[in-house]
Structure formats: C-alpha cells, structure tokens
C-alpha cells in the first residue's frame, strides 16, 4: 500500500523554484533513500512533505489524503515525523524534555520514553543534561528519539550522518534497523551515497530539483548512479 506519494510536486523559495514536478512514492514498511548532490532539493522535498514549505494540496498525498496544504503540526498528528538536518534540539530543554516534546502529537504506538532509552541507552544516562552539552552523535540519537516519540508511520531523516564520525554513523544506522523492524516507514535523505544505499531498499536521485533516477538499491550499478548524481 502506498503511504506517501507526491504528484508533480513543485516547491519555491520566493521566486526561486527548488523542485520541479517531483513524483515519488513510498510504500508502507519500505525504506527509501533520497540522494543527490548539495542543493539538489533533497531537504526541500522533505520540508515540503512535512508541511514546512507551502505546496498545493494535491501535490502531496499521505495515506491517500491530500496534505500539501496542511501545517507542520497537523502533519505530525497524521503520523509523519521529521529528524531535521543539524538535529535542531531545543537548547534550553534537557535531553528528556526534548524527547517528551515529541509526545505533543498524542499519537499512540510502540514508542515511549523507556523504549527510546532501550534503543539508545546512552540517552538514559544523559537524560537530565541540557541538550547542547551532548556530543554530535548523542544529539543525533536524541533527535531521532524525539521524532519516534510521536509514534510516526513515516519517519523522515535529514542527513543523519552530517558532521559525525564514521563509527558513530554506524551506530546510528544500526539503530535505524531496529526502528524499521518496528514497522516504521523511513525516508532517508543523505549525501553519503553508500550509507544511504546500504540502509534502503529503493532510492531516488535528485539533480537540480528534478528527479534524475529511481531504482531498487539491490545490485544497482553504482557507476550509473554517479552519472545521475553529478549529471555527467
């Protein structure tokens, strides 16, 4: 069953058009990667789905319903959660308060504080500290945990690996496996192509705001991908 679909989605920043007629679809339970170079429109696509960028109602469908016109908080209530680029934890809140903030959508489901702490045991030890005192990797875990607390059907992850050490990235992606196993559908935006392809079943490659390529990840020829990625 298709959980998310965009239909000829275009998005603008003022007069600048960042996305051109994007058609992507994500099946329930699937993990889809969106890759592309810097400025290709990956984050814009996630922001449009999350409602942070105004779009026409029918260009984004969630569970068959048009959501393009809805506000970000309404979309969270419907079951789409976002791990924003750069973590964006709330600096004056403690780690636990940051996690609890995810509960404002009041969605029922498997995720609660103790489950998140089970997934990221380090966060339990650090739960009383202010969010900015955590390392980058710990902050990323908190940001993922905060999104999970809203019990999303669809989890949007923007640049999970950004600015993190390889060993930390590996840990976080291992946890992503546990989240996917819980039945959550995941859309990954990454610049780290190999990481994204390893974690996903299908990918879309964006180039300058347009869809350049889409294919199942398995056994995909990475040479062809390079061409789509760089437009050569």
């Amino acid at each position: 069953m298709t959980l998310l679909r965009t239909q000829n989605l275009s998005a603008f920043y003022g007069d600048f058009q960042a996305l051109f007629d994007i058609n992507v679809s994500v099946e329930e339970g699937e993990t889809v990667a969106i890759i592309g170079a810097n400025g290709a429109g990956k984050t814009t696509l996630l922001r449009a789905v999350a409602g942070a960028l105004a779009t026409a109602p029918d260009t984004v469908l969630f569970d068959g319903e048009p959501i393009g016109h809805k506000t970000p908080h309404e979309i969270v209530h419907l079951g789409i959660a976002m791990v924003p680029e750069g973590r964006r934890l709330f600096p004056s809140l403690s780690v636990e308060e940051n996690l609890l903030l995810g509960t404002h959508s009041e969605r029922a489901g498997p995720w609660n504080l103790s489950r998140v702490y089970q997934l990221f045991p380090r966060l339990h030890e650090l739960r009383r500290l202010p969010a900015p005192s955590l390392s980058g990797g710990q902050q990323q875990m908190a940001a993922v945990g905060r999104a999970l607390m809203s019990n999303p059907r669809l989890l949007l992850c923007d640049e999970l690996s950004l600015g993190l050490a390889p060993v930390v990235i590996r840990d976080i992606y291992r946890c992503l496996g546990a989240i996917i196993a819980e039945g959550t559908t995941v859309v990954l935006v990454e610049q780290d192509i190999n990481r994204a392809l390893d974690a996903s079943t299908r990918f879309y490659c964006l180039q300058e705001g347009r869809l350049a390529l889409s294919a199942p990840t398995k056994n995909f020829d990475r040479g062809a991908l390079t061409a789509a990625y760089f437009g050569m």
């Binding site: 999350a50 942070a52 506000t71 970000p72 908080h73 969270v76 209530h77 976002m82 924003p84 964006r88 709330f90 600096p91 004056s92 809140l93 308060e97 609890l100 903030l101 995810g102 509960t103 404002h104 959508s105 905060r146 999104a147 809203s150």
Partner: protein
C-alpha cells in the same frame, strides 16, 4: 534607621514593578512580541475592576474573580485573531500593531470614562502598617503586593519547568519552526501565552489601582517601568525581573528621600547605569 526604612519601602515597591513586567517578559520571551500596549492593558484591567466593583459591589480583591478571566479571554482572542497575523514579518509589524492597540485603548477609555482620575477602594488594608523592632515601619499593603509578586513568579516557574505546557513554551521560545515540526500548534500556544500573561497583567492592574490613582493616559509610564524591570533583570529570567523591579523601586525611594522631585528620575538613571554596565541585564537567559 531612616535609610533602612527607605531601602525596605523601595524593595517592596519593586514587587508591583515585577508584576507589571511579567506579562511583557512572557510575550517577548515566547513570541518575540514587543507589546507596546502592555501598560494600557494594565490600566484597562484597572478600569474593568472599576466597572465590576461598581456594578456588583464586590471589593477590588474579589473583583479579580471576574477581571482575570476577562483579561485572559481578551489576551487569547487578541493573539489568535490579530497578533498571530503579525509575527511572520520580523519585529516591526507587531510593534506597530500593538502601538495602534495602545492608542485605541487610551482613547476608548477616555471616551467611556472621561479624563478623570480613578482609584479602587480596598479599605483598611491600604493604610495598615506593621511596626517592627528598631523603628522600622512596613506597610501591610506593599508587603502583600510583594508577596503576590513572589507567588506569581514562583507559579510561573512551576508552569515553565514542571508542566508539558511550560516545556512547549520553552521549546517555542528556542526555535519556533522546529517546535512546529515536532507537532506543536504555535499559534494556539501563542494565544495561551498572551492569555496567561494577561492574568498577571490583570492582577498588576488591580493591585496598582488600589495603591495609586489611574487615568486613561497612565499606560505608557507603566510600560516604561515594566520594560526597565525586565531589562535590568535580564531577558527571560523571571526572578531577575523581580530583582530588576526591586532595583528600580530602591533607586526611586532613595531618589525621593534625597529630593522628592528626583523619585522618577532616579529610577531611570539606575536603569541607564545598568544598561551601560551590563547591557544584557543582571541575569540574562533568553538567547536570540
């Protein structure tokens, strides 16, 4: 002993200034809204209390049962219906709109009540005083107002740091866009924030109306005192605001003791001195 008395009077006077400042501090801290009409809302609360006391025969303290919900509703509706529309375009639009509201309130009150002075009458408590050992006299009413200010700030601290609503307020203050992405309805939250701010504004208006006469044009000076208390204390720090109010109060009563015409000026001078020495106030909290 005379100077100790002056310091105590000044410090207690700080309680009412802190009450003035709470509403202003909340609306700036949470929605970055500089509410120019804040002083007029304080005065408006006094007039609402005047109508209630005259209409029902309640005393001013009891009239709060009606004044507080009325001002809460006004704050909620105003934010929801008008001020939310001004928040996306930077600092200037809300400044202009609240400036306009200020003019509307002042002229509306002038139209409805005339330019006369009014006062709320609470009776014996206004003039009662305690004689402490060592020749110190403390007015019961200033003491009561100071206690109310402490309770008000303590309850706000509890709200901010012990409840889900407070958590949401702090998150929105940190980063409104991300809070919205986490499922918080910012607009509704802002309306609640102005409503809650108005609760404290209503209390300040009624308590000050018992202490001092007010007229339709009395708002702007209240606004300035509130501003000064917030800035001296440091943006975003509620206890700092109380200290800020006390600094103002002490400066004013020391000034008045030196020369009665110096009272108001001394408060402003203390404010300027702190602005020069510590531009972020004594206990800064809010970051931008």
């Amino acid at each position: 002993m005379q100077w100790l008395n002056i310091l105590i009077q000044g410090a207690l006077l700080g309680g009412i200034y802190a009450l003035f400042a709470i509403g202003l501090s909340m609306s700036f801290g949470i929605m970055r809204l500089v509410n120019i009409a804040h002083g007029d809302f304080i005065v408006l609360s006094g007039y609402v209390a005047l109508v209630v006391t005259q209409g029902t025969g309640l005393d001013p303290f009891s009239s709060l049962v009606i004044v507080v919900p009325v001002m809460f509703a006004l704050g909620y509706a105003l934010q929801r219906g008008l001020l939310n529309q001004t928040l996306s375009g930077g600092l200037l639009p809300p400044l202009l709109v609240t400036f306009g509201i200020s003019i509307i309130i002042q002229n509306g009150l002038l139209q409805g009540f005339g330019a006369y002075d009014h006062r709320l009458q609470e009776g014996a408590v206004e003039t009662a005083s305690l004689h402490l050992p060592g020749g110190i006299d403390v007015g019961v009413y200033p003491l009561l107002v100071f206690a109310v200010a402490i309770c008000a700030i303590a309850s706000l601290q509890l709200l901010f740091y012990r409840t889900g609503l407070g958590r949401a307020f702090r998150a929105v203050s940190d980063d409104a866009d991300t809070a919205e992405l986490m499922g918080i309805d910012n607009r509704k939250l802002y309306a609640l924030a102005l409503g809650i701010a108005m609760i404290f504004t209503a209390i300040a208006g009624v308590l000050f109306g018992i202490r001092t006469i007010f007229d339709p044009a009395a708002g702007p000076i209240r606004l300035i005192l509130a501003f000064e208390a917030v800035i001296i204390g440091g943006l975003g720090s509620m206890w700092g605001t109380l200290i800020g109010g006390m600094v103002l109060g002490i400066a004013q009563s020391v000034g008045a003791a030196l020369d009665p015409t110096w009272q108001i000026l001394a408060g402003h001078l203390a404010f300027l001195a702190i602005l020069i020495l510590r531009p972020n106030g004594l206990f800064p909290r809010t970051r931008d």
